[in-house]
């Protein structure tokens, strides 16, 4: 038995010992199936699809979706991770809802080992999660509301414009590179040019 390896050297049996180069076969994740036919596009069950999609989206953004907190920390510890401004912003504005907001965790509702003596929730629970609405959608929604009300529209538009202008001003601030009209780079407050008539004044 132990000589099998050596036997292979001498052009031994079958395929043992001999390494042939592997055949490259293209890998198709979803190969075509013959004779499947073509499905007609129809909107018959559109409502069902929409509801299903909404339910999935709700669960993903709710505390029911148990995320691995250690995974997120690992991501941050990686050297290539650069904290972006949007990350900081999203953490500040995200209102994390807890399981106790929706679920009873007291000992009469759960087995003892799962129960938690919950303090009564005092804050306002969000039943409709809007965390994935983009700013554009929010803006559109606001516009719709305004169209119905009519009068308030102009005020809000002005406010929106002002906010936009302010943001633009902030973003256009390039710091030291943008120089104002009267900024003299040569001016050095600490080392002012000495007046012509004076030389250094020495007090002996």
């Amino acid at each position: 038995m132990s000589y099998r390896g050596r036997g292979g050297f001498r052009g031994g049996r079958g395929g043992y010992g001999g390494f042939r180069p592997a055949k490259q076969v293209s890998f198709e994740l979803f190969p075509e199936i013959e004779g499947l036919g073509k499905a007609e596009y129809s909107t018959e069950h559109f409502k069902l699809i929409q509801w299903g999609h909404e339910i999935q989206k709700f669960w993903k953004n709710s505390p029911y979706y148990v995320k691995d907190s250690s995974q997120q920390d690992e991501l941050r510890d990686q050297q290539s991770y650069i904290e972006r401004y949007s990350d900081r912003k999203s953490q500040a504005t995200k209102v994390t809802s807890h399981l106790s907001d929706y679920m009873e965790l007291g000992p009469s509702y759960l087995p003892a080992e799962l129960a938690r003596g919950g303090k009564k929730r005092k804050r306002r629970v969000k039943w409709q999660v809007a965390s994935d609405l983009r700013e554009q959608d929010l803006f559109e929604k606001l516009l719709q509301k305004d169209q119905e009300q009519g009068d308030k529209k102009e005020d809000e538009d002005e406010e929106e414009d002002e906010e936009n202008i302010e943001e633009e001003e902030e973003y256009s601030d390039e710091g030291d590179y943008e120089q104002g009209e009267y900024f003299d780079d040569d001016e050095d407050d600490f080392n002012k040019p000495e007046s012509d008539d004076e030389g250094p004044i020495y007090d002996f």
Binding site: L29, F30, K47, L48, I49, W51, G52, I55, Q56, F58, W59, K60, S62, Y64, Y65, V66, K67, D68, L99, Y102, M103, E104, L105, G106, S108, Y109, L110, P111, A112, E113, L114, V125, K126, W127, Q128
Partner: protein, 482 residues
């Protein structure tokens, strides 16, 4: 035990809805059966906190049922009570059907009820107070009376029910004594040995009389509201409506009743619909009308999923119900009797004319036809004939007999039978007869139980593949858009 692709489909559903950790816990329970918390932690290799969180989520979403049982202690130790967890596979698959259930509620009851129902689908279990609160936020309506009416309508239609007990106690079963046959058992009905899952579910489910009953003090709550309504309006009414509910249960005990979707009712409705449409295509319209009348009458008396036969119904009751249906007005007693005979009902003339229908027979026939159509597509017309013959016979048949009855050549028959047998669709047995010369006979049979299991597994597999494909396509689209 759940079939392999069933497990894969269930874990995929859980992972896409509730995250990877929950799907690990779920997978562990599906593969190992009943486990305690410590065992789950060991098998999944997650932290205790994660597992506890996952179990809370899965329990609230009705995917897992805890129960306590007595376990024998070691030497000199008293028996102790342990909490174990069992996964409810059917409820996980029902999550795929949630949009269909919502459609049924929307068509029967309208958008107010749909909103409440939607909340229960999203959260799994909710108390009445939380339902009220959620409804206010999502619809902006603050009228509690309207909401309670919608809630009552949902209850009357049995679309929602009280949640089962969070930790029922399972008495230790004496496994040594065989189940005793009850005397006078109806038509060979024996005391079945229930699986642990069935026993747990039975222990957990509230009593039938309580299951669809709102609190007894519901009526008195309304009176309280009426007296206060004249004095206060708007927001204050909400807080007053909430307070009585909590105080209902008496001093110290503030447990609120939790409500959830009643899956059984939807399964029953869809099954009845399928049976009626099957009878309509197989027999005729009249038979389908009679069947729908019978099912309507027996809907509240069916027990869980085990619907073998309906209870005995008198001909008069059937007649009354048939007249109410569309197209049933023209039918008289003779028509009805003819249809009942066509449906294969058994009649008992004990207390007047009473009929009972064999529902299991109808569902079996419908399922067999589905399987036969798959065989036709995959193996061809001759294989279909052979398979259908065996399926109808329900017993072992010899190769020559099959070949004669289906007009297929003997060697082709043998080839087809081998192919079907290799794919686990048939059972085969070999018999050797020692006469003058040794003759071997091959016997073939369709075994419906394992066959339907296999097809169910294939359907789960197909569903899983479709879901993966959809997710794949969506991700491709995202990449293209970016």
């Amino acid at each position: 035990m759940v079939s392999p692709h069933g497990i894969l489909l269930a874990t995929h559903i859980i992972s896409s809805s509730y995250g990877e950790q929950c799907s690990k816990v779920c997978d562990c329970l599906l593969r190992h059966g009943i486990l305690s918390l410590a065992q789950i932690i060991r098998f999944t290799e997650l932290t205790k906190e994660s597992v506890v969180n996952c179990l809370r989520v899965l329990f609230n979403q009705n995917c897992v049922q805890p129960f306590s049982s007595q376990r024998e202690g070691g030497f000199g130790e008293a028996p102790r009570i342990v909490t174990q967890y069992i996964v409810l596979f059917d409820n996980i698959i029902h999550k795929l059907r949630a949009p269909k259930f919502m459609q049924i509620v929307s068509e029967e009851l309208g958008s107010d009820c749909l909103n409440i129902f939607h909340g229960l689908i999203q959260h799994g279990r909710l108390s009445l107070n939380r339902i009220i609160e959620r409804n206010e936020q999502t619809t902006g309506k603050t009228d509690v009376q309207v909401l309670k009416e919608s809630f009552n309508r949902l209850l009357n239609f049995r679309f929602i029910e009280r949640c089962p007990s969070p930790e029922p106690f399972l008495a230790p079963q004496d496994n040594e004594e065989p189940p005793v046959k009850k005397r006078g058992a109806r038509r060979g009905e024996t005391q079945e040995v229930l699986t642990v899952e069935q026993r747990v579910l039975e222990a957990a489910t509230p009593m039938e009389s309580l299951r669809f009953l709102v609190d007894v003090d519901f009526a008195s709550e309304e009176k309280v509201e009426e007296t206060h309504a004249k004095v206060t309006l708007g927001k204050k009414r909400k807080s007053e409506a909430m307070v009585p509910d909590e105080d209902v249960m008496g001093a110290g005990e503030k447990k609120e009743v939790l409500w959830r979707v009643n899956y059984e009712e939807f399964v029953r409705r869809l099954r009845d619909k399928a049976c009626i449409s099957y009878v309509k295509t197989r027999l005729n319209d009249e038979a389908s009308i009679v069947l729908s009348a019978i099912l309507e009458l027996s809907k509240n008396s069916t027990v869980r999923h085990k619907v073998v036969e309906s209870a005995y119904l008198s001909i008069n009751a059937i007649y009354d119900e048939v007249i109410k249906k569309d197209g049933g007005i023209g039918m008289d007693f003779d028509h009805i009797r003819a249809s009942l005979a066509q449906l294969g009902c058994t009649c008992s003339s004990a207390d007047g004319e009473a009929y009972s229908i064999d529902l299991k027979g109808i569902t079996d026939k419908a399922q067999s036809e589905e399987v036969e159509s798959v065989v036709l597509k995959r193996y061809g017309r001759e294989a279909y004939r052979i398979f259908r013959l065996l399926s109808k016979a329900g017993r072992f048949l010899e190769t020559d007999k099959i070949s004669d009855d289906t007009f297929v050549e003997k060697k082709d028959t043998l080839k087809i039978l081998y192919k079907l047998w290799k794919d686990d669709l048939l059972d085969m047995e070999k018999i050797m007869l020692n006469g003058g010369k040794q003759v071997a006979f091959l016997l073939w049979r369709v075994n419906k139980g394992p066959l339907f299991e296999k097809f169910r597994d294939e359907m789960y597999h197909a569903a899983l593949n479709l879901r993966l494909r959809i997710i794949h396509e969506q991700e491709q689209a995202k990449e293209v858009r970016l």
